[in-house]
Subunit: 200 residues, 2 copies
């Protein structure tokens, strides 16, 4: 045992499983949690528990939600005729932060990746088709990441939806190719939304 | 609300309170905790709770412990005549990892820092004197950090303990193994020169 408490050791090991957290940072965080205000530490534990027990998925858009539908799908002030299709819930956060979009979202929960065995049936594409069948949507903005998988997904969606009476647009490559939508700055993302073009 | 769930928002905010974790990393960790295996996420929450509810302080050495005394103080195979005095529990972990010490520890739980209002009575120095009063200790290795506060603490301990029949030593300060002389700061280099030893 490296640490004088197996509970401390357990905490360090569990923190080190998190992305971007190495062994040294995990140790630093564990000592911080031991030393900091007890209520603060326990509140973090509770916050982790609650996102796993209380938070679900919006049946309409597939975003993270604790209500059905989520607060965006249920917001009457938002434009229901424009649908922004993204890969992940984090992408919704990024687009919302840009302040350049007031329509609705559809979260695919991934991108096509044949090499990883991710096909259309693994994404929320059937749900997207059903939403479009219900009518009232005039434009689909394809805001998947400008990566190989994101572009493949955009291409697939364009093929799938081109028979419909829809404007199908793709966000502009104001975002550096190879980067992650979730990590883009707000201005770049706002520009990308403004510069969207018809898919052909 | 930036996120589609206030529980998610709460988790991001609480993670961002941790040292070295910025807002973007906090968001990434929160999404990871939402997506990862549920048992893994809940185990992390439990690990945080347990270090705050089950883990205490060893009454002998002041280290983090879940038993009284801690497993190091209770280990009969360790040399009870040498005491290594460190600032924090993390320093015990570092010295243990070096594998170069098989004695006992005394954790001060800080260093003297008059500007921050930290005096001798705020550290576990009275407990150190009581341990020395009990006898059996022949050497005290002062292993506080080679910082202004650590040096001040080392100096204070030397003054306090010099009347006792004890060997009082200070860990060597010099160039770190594997480091570049050219890139070392002047103070470290001066210390390394002062602390030079005969080659044999």
């Amino acid at each position: 045992m490296q640490y004088s408490s197996r509970y401390l050791e357990d905490l360090v090991e569990r923190l080190a499983l998190l992305p971007t957290i190495g062994k040294k940072t995990a140790q630093r965080l564990a000592f911080h949690l031991l030393k900091t205000d007890e209520q603060e530490a326990l509140a973090l534990a509770l916050a982790i528990q609650r996102v796993r027990t209380e938070v679900g998925v919006c049946e309409v858009c597939g975003n993270i939600a604790e209500t059905q539908p989520c607060y965006i799908c249920g917001d009457a002030r938002r434009d229901k005729s424009v649908l922004c299709v993204v890969e992940q819930p984090g992408d919704v956060v990024a687009v919302e932060k840009s302040g350049a979009f007031r329509g609705q979202y559809h979260v695919l929960r991934g991108a096509l990746s044949p090499l990883d065995g991710v096909g259309p049936e693994d994404l929320r594409i059937a749900e997207l088709s059903r939403r479009l069948d219900e009518g009232g949507i005039g434009e689909v903005i394809v805001a998947t990441n400008p990566t190989a998988q994101g572009e493949a997904t955009a291409h697939y969606l364009h093929e799938l939806l081109s028979a419909r009476e829809l404007r199908i647009t793709r966000i502009a490559r104001g975002i550096p190719v190879g980067a992650d939508l979730e990590l883009s700055d707000q201005v770049t993302l706002a520009r990308a939304l403004e510069g969207r073009k018809e898919m052909d």
